[in-house]
Amino acid sequence: MYSQELIKGTLQTIILKLLSENERMYGYEITRKVKEITKKKINITEGALYPALHKMVANNLLQTETVNIGKRIRKYYSLTNDGTNTAQQKVAEFADFLKTMSGLLNLKPNFQISWI
């Protein structure tokens, strides 16, 4: 499992990317999906997830929709137009960042560290 510091810097990008591929998701679903895709290597804590989601709603990147699922309310998150644009930007920025870091850390194509 990666450190929370590493995940903190990429959390917004992770959320935006997930929501760009899924029409809408609720909080628990986001944590579960990330765990599933990353084979439990990335574990988004509730203390990180909900502040990030609320901040992104405040910044008009996400919008919410409350749905009655029987005995309780479920809040779904989805991308706004701004969020959709930002998702593309952030993912492209991160891909570029990975390339840069790969060069800086002198990583081989399969991301092994080269000490030469």
């Binding site: 509730e46 309310i73 137009n81």
Partner: protein, 285 residues
């Protein structure tokens, strides 16, 4: 296994008891905790045990920490956004105010300062284009377009340094700015963003034209003695900034439009009255 209404009510009470006051966060946490419990009760774990495990997963005072983190994040975000937004939104009007003061004051090399001010506006326009026309780029864009069109067709020695009509030459700075922006972005994304932003908030069009207000006010004081004009210029720049500030702070479209309209009407009225009073009384001064 789906939770019963009494179990859900229990969790709701517990969330409130643990100090969660934010309603939106209560909804998130209720559903999250219920999901955690349901996953365990599916495998035969009792509700009580599953609830304990779910709360343990948050850590000690975990729910309160989530609320504190959310509050801190929102407050920080609000402060940064507000300060950033206001600074960026004020920029075009501060530069235009600076240009106005430079034109009217008997300053040596005022032409140089004027050119620098105008250049800054075109640079801001280029940056705004590259960044996909954020809201502050609207008054800047309207200013550079209208001032270019104005300089094309009206002789203005104060602006161009010559009595000659510039014609299409006046469009050169605008064309260069657009060329640089396109060379940088190499895509139509900024223009798509421009259309999208207007679609999402049409008041940006009004804010765009508001960017030309300082210039209109300057024109109303054309040929007026600088000592008479100075207090009006300072007061009217502040009034324009107040209108822009209220526009940027409001989320309601009606208030946004009202703030710009009132600031524009007031400032133009004061400028007209001030200018008329000057010309009526000029021989007595």
């Amino acid at each position: 296994m789906d939770l019963s209404i009494s179990q859900i009510e229990f969790i709701k009470k517990e969330i409130r008891r643990r100090g969660i006051k934010m309603k939106s966060l209560q909804e998130d946490l209720l559903d999250h905790i219920c999901c955690l419990i349901e996953e365990q009760t599916k495998n035969g774990t009792s509700f009580e045990r599953a609830y304990e495990n779910a709360i343990k997963q948050f850590g000690e005072n975990g729910l309160e920490k989530v609320q504190n983190e959310t509050n801190i994040s929102l407050i920080k975000n609000q402060l940064v956004m507000t300060a950033q937004r206001i600074f960026q939104g004020f920029m075009p009007f501060i530069i235009l105010g600076f240009i106005w003061l430079i034109i009217l004051l008997p300053v040596n090399q005022s032409g140089v300062f004027l050119s620098v001010g105008l250049l800054f506006m075109f640079v801001l326009f280029t940056i705004g284009w590259i960044k996909g026309f954020p809201y502050w780029a609207f008054p800047v864009s309207c200013f550079v377009v209208l001032i270019s069109v104005y300089a094309m067709s009206v002789s203005s020695p104060g602006l161009t340094g010559s009595r000659e009509l510039l014609g299409f030459k006046a469009l050169i700075p605008l064309v260069i700015s657009i060329f640089i922006a396109i060379a940088f972005t190499r895509s139509t994304w900024p223009l798509k963003q421009l259309v999208l932003r207007i679609k999402n908030d049409w008041t940006l069009l009004v804010f765009a034209f508001y960017g030309f207000l300082p210039v209109m006010l300057m024109f109303l004081f054309d040929e007026v003695n600088w000592r008479y004009e100075l207090p009006f210029a300072l007061g009217l720049i502040i009034l324009v900034l107040v209108g822009a500030y209220i526009y940027m702070k409001s989320s309601k479209k009606s208030i946004k439009i009202l703030s710009l309209a009132i600031a524009a009407i007031l400032s133009v009225t004061i400028a007209i009255i001030g200018s008329l009073y000057y010309w009526d009384n000029i021989f007595q001064m």
